[in-house]
């Protein structure tokens, strides 16, 4: 039986197309991908991301604990800020990609992927030290994301103060405590808001009605996927997983080798100094064609890798893809698209950057 978020009724009322995602019944589209994608790039769009997990880490041991399990240097994250990191196993394989928010003195909130909540939770328990207080709040919290250039304007109508980029603040909302994080997964300015389930519908409704004058629309996971791919963000379980290491997947800055020991450091260091077999690279099609997940990447006519994420980019108006190929590959690339070999070139991430 699939799980439903507290906003499921809203999605049904809006006529959303519902699909199963990581065991959740989630809206894939309300209208279709392109208009929802464009709304976020030009105005703002509202996403239900309540399927994602939230784990609180509290106590004096919280920073040492996070330093041990995270590849990024959590000590660089000041109170009231957030930081992206990978969790790695001893082999450097990626258990999950997460966002850590430093919400209060010795208090952190970790936002994890929906499909990995249980795996992460068990990993946390396995590596916890005495005096550490862990709480898996995933089932009791809802999360919505307002993304797009007009997000700040919209939320300013509802809240007196808003956090700056990558910062987090809390306030009262409908008698509940609301956490506002200025982060996202679209490459646009935006906010992710975490609230106890009973207030989720009110938050959703109020944001949509505040955004009405700018035609802010609800957006599904379909647009979320094309937006994050254009912005060059990895999708856990597809672009990176336990079998691929942080070195292979990148981004490079997510591993801080100059910090003390963390799980996976030795393996990752060995990989960095040795010979990498594969590296996640970004491809842009030079001809008409849309790379899809699982498509073969060809180098000089020979199979060199597989597309992990691929789509048509509504903004660039061409096919874009991520895929693992041998590092420093040089040659003529092509991607098999609907049975045809389509010329492609390696490009830098992100595919799309605001203002370019």
């Amino acid at each position: 039986m699939s799980k439903r978020t507290s906003l499921f009724r809203r999605h049904q009322e809006a006529g959303a197309k519902i699909v199963d995602f990581a065991g959740w019944e989630m809206p894939i589209t309300y209208t279709s991908i392109v208009p929802e994608h464009t709304a976020v790039r030009e105005r703002a769009g509202l996403f239900d991301v309540s399927h994602m997990g939230q784990i609180t880490v509290e106590g004096k041991e919280s920073l040492p604990f996070l330093q041990k399990i995270c590849t990024n240097d959590i000590s660089l994250c000041k109170q009231g800020h957030g930081i992206y990191s990978h969790l790695c196993n001893e082999n450097g394989g990626v258990i999950d990609d997460i966002f850590v928010y430093f919400v209060g003195s010795d208090q952190y909130l970790v936002v994890v992927n929906a499909a990995t909540i249980e795996k992460d939770w068990n990993w946390f328990l396995k590596n916890k030290s005495d005096g550490l207080l862990l709480n898996n709040k995933s089932d009791s919290l809802s999360m919505v994301a307002l993304q797009g250039p007009l997000s700040e304007k919209v939320l300013s109508k509802l809240f007196q103060t808003l956090p700056s980029r990558h910062q987090v603040s809390s306030c009262a909302f409908e008698g509940e405590s609301l956490l506002i994080c200025r982060t996202g997964y679209t490459g646009e300015d935006g906010f992710e808001m975490i609230v106890p389930n009973p207030a989720a519908e009110k938050l959703w409704d109020q944001i949509l009605s505040a955004g009405k004058e700018w035609n802010v629309v609800p957006c599904g996971l379909g647009a979320r996927d094309t937006l994050r791919l254009e912005a060059g963000y990895l999708l856990y379980g597809q672009d990176v997983d336990d079998a691929h290491t942080s070195i292979e997947s990148g981004p490079q800055w997510v591993i801080k080798f100059n910090k003390d020991n963390f799980i996976g450091k030795e393996s990752l260091l060995q990989q960095k100094q040795g010979n990498l077999k594969r590296k996640l690279m970004a491809f842009k099609c030079l001809e008409r064609g849309i790379p899809r997940h699982g498509a073969t990447i060809l180098m000089d006519g020979n199979p060199a890798g597989i597309v992990t994420s691929g789509s048509f980019s509504p903004i660039l108006r061409c096919g874009i893809a991520l895929g693992y190929v041998p590092p420093n590959s040089e040659g003529k690339f092509a991607i098999e698209c609907s049975g045809k070999s389509v010329a492609a070139t390696i490009t830098k991430l992100p595919f799309y950057k605001k203002g370019e």
Binding site: T29, I33, V34, G222, G289, I290, R292, F312, C337
Partner: protein, 128 residues
């Protein structure tokens, strides 16, 4: 195509008019959404019934277009190269895809009328 009762439908959601014009149904375009481009068949190509005659690429996936009956491709809708969204906007009109010289009009009998197609949709799984 003003009169849907004049056209026949395949289970794979293509329609064909008595003059051999082929397109995809309104139901199919709604499922496919956001058509980005269409791989059209070559004019002059011979296709057999239910064989793949082209591909519709939308943002979300690629969908094959099957020939509703056997025949020879005598025209393709060149407007679709400029504006593939015509398939979404006008699936029975400006969004037609190609035209067949029908080889055997008896094959039309294996297709559904519009009302049969509506019934078929009620009883079948979504396209995707």
């Amino acid at each position: 195509m003003d009169d849907l009762n004049q056209i026949k439908f395949a289970k794979t959601h293509e329609w064909i008019a008595p003059d051999g014009t082929v397109g995809i149904s309104d139901h199919a375009q709604k499922e496919i959404t956001d058509v980005v481009f269409i791989e059209l068949p070559q004019t002059g190509k011979t296709v057999s019934q239910e064989s793949e005659a082209g591909t519709i690429e939308s943002v979300k996936a690629a969908f094959p277009i099957y020939a509703p009956v056997s025949g020879q491709v005598v025209a393709v809708n060149q407007d679709l190269s400029q504006d593939p969204s015509l398939v979404n906007q006008s699936p029975y009109g400006k969004g037609w895809i190609f035209k067949l010289k029908i080889a055997d009009s008896n094959e039309l009998n294996s297709l559904m009328t519009h009302s049969q197609y509506q019934e078929f949709l009620k009883s079948s799984e979504p396209v995707h």
